[in-house]
Symmetry: C2
Subunit: 462 residues, 2 copies
C-alpha cells in the first residue's frame, strides 16, 4: 500500500466525527419527493457542500420538478468519473413502526438510523467526502469528477431524461458510479452492473352505474370477475407470462449468465434478504438466481374491488382495478411490452378492461463485467473488504440507469455502502457506520487509480 | 264489494294521519342490528303495539342476540296466518348521500323518507295496523294471527333457527306472509313465492413474511396471483361455474319455469331496477329472467391485496383475499356447496388458498304458486291494485324463508308495500304512502277471506 493510501485512510479516520456530523446534518433535513417536504432545503445544503469543494455547480429545474444538481470538478486530468446519487427519500410511513423519529438520526450498535441513511444520502455524502479527503490530503484530484444528483428518483425520475438530453455534452465521462451497492451478510462487497427496466400500470374494469345488490350477479357482469379473468389470462401457474411474444426480446447475455453461475449465494441468504419469504420451492438455487436477476416479470402490486371491510356485504361492485409493475430485462422496450399487453387483452375479448399507464417507465441497463471501469471497481472493492466481491449483472429492481449506459454510453455500476438489513424504503432505515467509512475509502481508491488504470492498465494505489 | 270491505277501507282512510303517526314513531327509533343502536327501544315499541291489540307476546332472546317477538292473537278461528317481518335496519352510511337525516322521517312527493321505511318497518307497521283496523271495524279478527318479528335479519338472522326449532309448536300456522313484496313501476302488485339461499365466504391467499419489494416477484409467489388463479378456476367467461358437480342439485321446477315464462317484464324494466346497469347483452329476455331468478351464482363482493391508494408502489403483497357470496336455488345445500368448493380448490392445487366461511348461510325456499294461500294472495292483490299481479317464483336475493317453508312447512310468500325506487339498503330509502295504505287494505282483505277460502274455496270479501 502506497504512502498516499495510508495518508488518505488516516485522514478519513481522523475526521470521522466531523464527517459523521456532515452526514447527520443532511439526514436531519427531510427530502421526501412524494410530498415535496424539505426538497429545496436539502438541495441547497448539497449545493453548498459542492461549492465548498470548489466545484462548478449547475442547478436544473423543470417546471414543477425538483432540482437536478450537476457539480463539476475539472482538474484537467485524462479521465472523468461521474457520480450519480439522489437526495430525495421515500415517505416515512408507517411512522409508528420507527423506533426513533426518521429525521432525527440516532446512532446505536454502530449504525445510524434515519430515513435516507442508506438510500441514498449515505452514498451521496460518502462520495462528496471522498472527494473532499483527496483534495485535502493530495491538494488536487487525480481525476475529473462530475456529481449528478437528482431529487426525484423515488418518484420515477421524471425530469432526468430531458436533463440528460439537454446537457449531454456537459455530462461526458468515462465511467459512472451509480447509487447503491454495498456489503453482504458475510462482509463481501456487492457490485451491481445494471438494473431492470420497469413499466407501471393499472388494469381497470368498470360497469356503468353504481354498486348493486349481488343478487344481480347472474345477469349483470361483475367487473371484479372481468378483472380476475383478464389477469389470469396473463400468467400461468408457474409464473410464465402468456402475453404473445412477451419473451421475444429477452436476449441471451453470456456475460450476465456467467456472473449468475459464479454467484456464491445460497437459498438461505436469499431467504433472509426477503424477511424469510418462502422461495418457490421446486427451483434449484441456480435457476432461482437466474430468474431473480435475468427474468422479466409481471407483478400484481395491488388489487381492489367492492367491499373489503370486516364482515359481509353482498355487493356487485361497479369497478375493479389492479396495480401492476412489469420488470424488463435488456432489449425489452416499455412501449413494445405495453403494446403487446393491449393486443393480448383485445385478442382475448377483454376490450372492457382498460390499460391505464401510470408510468411509462424505462428500459433495463447493463454494463459488461469486462469493461475497464468495472474491473477496477472489483479490484478496489476486493482491497477494501479483503474479500472477493460478489458481482451481480444487475439489481433485480429498477432505476433510470439506461440514461447513463444507453444515452450517455458510459459504463455504469453500483459500488456503495448498503447492507442487507438497511431497511431501504422501510421503517428503521439504517447504515452501518463502518460501511459508510469504508465506502468513502473505496471511493478514494477508485478515484486515485482511475486514470492510471484506464490509460496504462496500472493500479498504483492498491 | 261487501259492506264490510267498504267499512274497512273507509276506516283506514279516515285514520290515515293517525296511522302515519304510528309509522313515523317507529321510523324515528333507530334499530341498526349491525351496531345495536336503538334495538331494544324499537323492540319495546313494537311489543307495546302488539299488547295494545290484545296479543299475547313472547320475547325470545339468545345470548347476545336481539329480541325475537312472537305476538299471538288466537281468535279460535279455523285458520291461522303467520306474519313475518323484521324491525332491524341496515346501517345508514354513506350518511352524506341522504337528503335528510335517516331517522327523522320526511314526507315529500307522497313518500316518506327514512331508513327502514320500506325495509321492513313499512311492512311491519302496515300489517299491525291492518289487524288493528279489523279489530276496530269488525270487533274481532276473522282469522288467528301470529306475528313473528325479529331484529337480526340484516345480519343474517343468527338467532332465528334456534327459535324456530325451540318454538315449533307455538309457530304452527296455515300460511305465512313474508316481508317484502310491493308494486312495480306500472303499479302492478309484485308477489314473491320464495328466496334464494346464500353462503358467504372469503378466499384467502397468504405468504409468510411481510410485504416485499416487487423485484422479488420472480422467485417468491405473489398471493394476489394465487388468488386470481384460484378465482379464475371457479368461473368461465359466460358466468358458468366450473366447480365440479356445482349444478347437480339444480333441479327442474316446472311451476317456477312457468312463472318465469309468464313474467311480463322487459329488458328496460330490469335495467331501470338496476340503476341502468348493463345487462349481459347477448341473452334474450326470457333467458335473462331465468338466470336472474332460477340460477345459482358465485359472486365476488370484494377483492383486496397490496397497495391500492393513488399512484404507484412496487410491492409484492403478503396476502390477498376475496369476499364472495354464493346464491343457491332449491335443493342446493350450503354445506354441500362449500364442500365442493373446497374439493375443487384442493384438486386444482390451491391448497394454499384458504376458504374462510363468514356465514354458513341457508338454503333456498320456494312455495308452489298453486298452493291455496298463494292463490288467495294473487286474488287479493289483483283486487287492491286493479291490475294483474306479477308473480315471481322467488326473489333473486336471499332470506331465511326456508325456516318457514322447510322447517315449519308453511306456504310462504311476500305481499307488501315496496316499490322499485324504495332505495332499500341505500341512502334516501323511502316508501310511497299510497302503497303503505294499500298494503294495509290488502292485508285486511287477505285476513278476511282466508278462512272462507281455505275451508270453502270462497272469497266473500273480494
Amino acid at each position: 500500500m502506497s504512502q498516499n493510501v495510508h495518508k488518505v485512510k488516516d485522514y478519513i479516520e481522523k475526521n470521522k466525527n466531523q464527517y459523521l456530523d456532515t452526514f447527520v446534518k443532511l439526514l436531519r433535513c427531510p427530502s421526501v419527493s412524494a410530498t415535496g417536504e424539505g426538497i429545496e432545503q436539502a438541495a441547497g445544503l448539497i449545493t453548498d457542500m459542492l461549492r465548498e469543494l470548489g466545484a462548478n455547480v449547475l442547478t436544473y429545474k423543470e417546471d414543477g420538478g425538483n432540482p437536478i444538481i450537476l457539480g463539476e470538478l475539472n482538474e484537467k486530468k485524462e479521465g472523468t468519473i461521474m457520480i450519480y446519487d439522489h437526495y430525495d427519500v421515500q415517505p416515512v410511513d408507517p411512522l409508528g413502526k420507527w423506533a426513533s423519529p426518521p429525521f432525527e438520526p440516532r446512532i446505536s450498535d454502530g449504525k445510524i438510523y434515519a430515513r435516507g441513511a442508506s438510500d441514498d444520502k449515505g452514498n451521496l455524502v460518502s462520495r462528496i467526502l471522498a472527494v473532499k479527503t483527496l483534495l485535502e490530503v493530495l491538494g488536487e484530484l487525480p481525476v475529473n469528477i462530475k456529481f449528478l444528483f437528482e431529487g426525484e428518483e423515488e418518484v420515477g425520475s421524471p425530469s432526468l431524461p430531458s436533463f440528460i438530453k439537454n446537457y449531454e455534452e456537459q455530462l461526458h465521462a468515462d465511467a459512472c458510479i451509480w447509487e447503491g451497492g454495498g456489503f453482504d451478510q458475510k462482509g463481501r462487497p456487492m457490485i451491481y452492473l445494471g438494473a431492470k427496466g420497469v413499466v407501471y400500470l393499472e388494469l381497470r374494469a368498470k360497469r356503468t352505474g353504481s354498486d348493486l345488490h349481488s343478487s344481480w350477479g347472474t345477469i349483470i357482469e361483475n367487473p371484479a370477475w372481468r378483472l380476475v379473468m383478464a389477469l389470469s389470462s396473463i400468467r400461468d401457474e408457474k409464473g410464465g407470462i402468456l402475453i404473445e411474444n412477451f419473451y421475444e426480446d429477452v436476449a441471451d447475455d453470456p456475460e450476465a449468465e456467467q456472473l449468475v453461475r459464479e454467484l456464491d449465494i445460497d437459498r438461505s441468504e436469499i431467504s433472509s434478504m426477503t424477511n424469510n419469504g418462502e422461495l418457490i420451492e421446486e427451483l434449484p438455487i441456480r435457476e432461482l438466481l437466474r430468474r431473480w436477476l435475468l427474468s422479466p416479470t409481471v407483478n400484481i402490486c395491488g388489487i381492489y374491488s367492492g367491499y373489503i371491510e370486516k364482515g359481509q356485504k353482498t355487493v356487485l361492485p361497479s369497478y375493479a382495478f389492479a396495480k401492476m409493475d412489469i420488470r424488463l430485462v435488456p432489449k425489452m422496450s416499455p412501449e413494445r411490452v405495453l403494446s403487446k399487453l393491449k393486443q393480448h387483452l383485445a385478442k382475448r375479448g377483454f376490450n372492457d378492461v382498460e390499460v391505464e399507464v401510470l408510468n411509462h417507465g424505462y428500459p433495463a441497463a447493463r454494463t459488461s463485467p469486462s469493461s475497464q471501469p468495472v474491473r477496477l471497481a472489483i479490484m478496489v472493492a476486493r482491497t477494501v473488504a479483503g474479500k472477493e466481491p460478489v458481482v451481480f449483472p444487475n439489481i433485480a429492481g429498477s432505476g433510470p440507469m439506461y440514461l447513463v449506459t444507453d444515452v450517455l454510453h458510459q459504463p455504469c455500476f453500483s459500488l456503495g455502502i448498503n447492507h442487507p438489513g438497511s431497511n431501504i424504503h422501510a421503517p428503521n432505515e439504517n447504515v452501518i457506520i463502518d460501511y459508510f467509512m469504508k465506502g468513502m475509502w473505496q471511493c478514494c481508491l477508485y478515484m486515485m487509480n482511475f486514470v492510471p488504470w484506464i490509460r496504462l492498465g496500472d493500479v498504483p494505489y492498491l
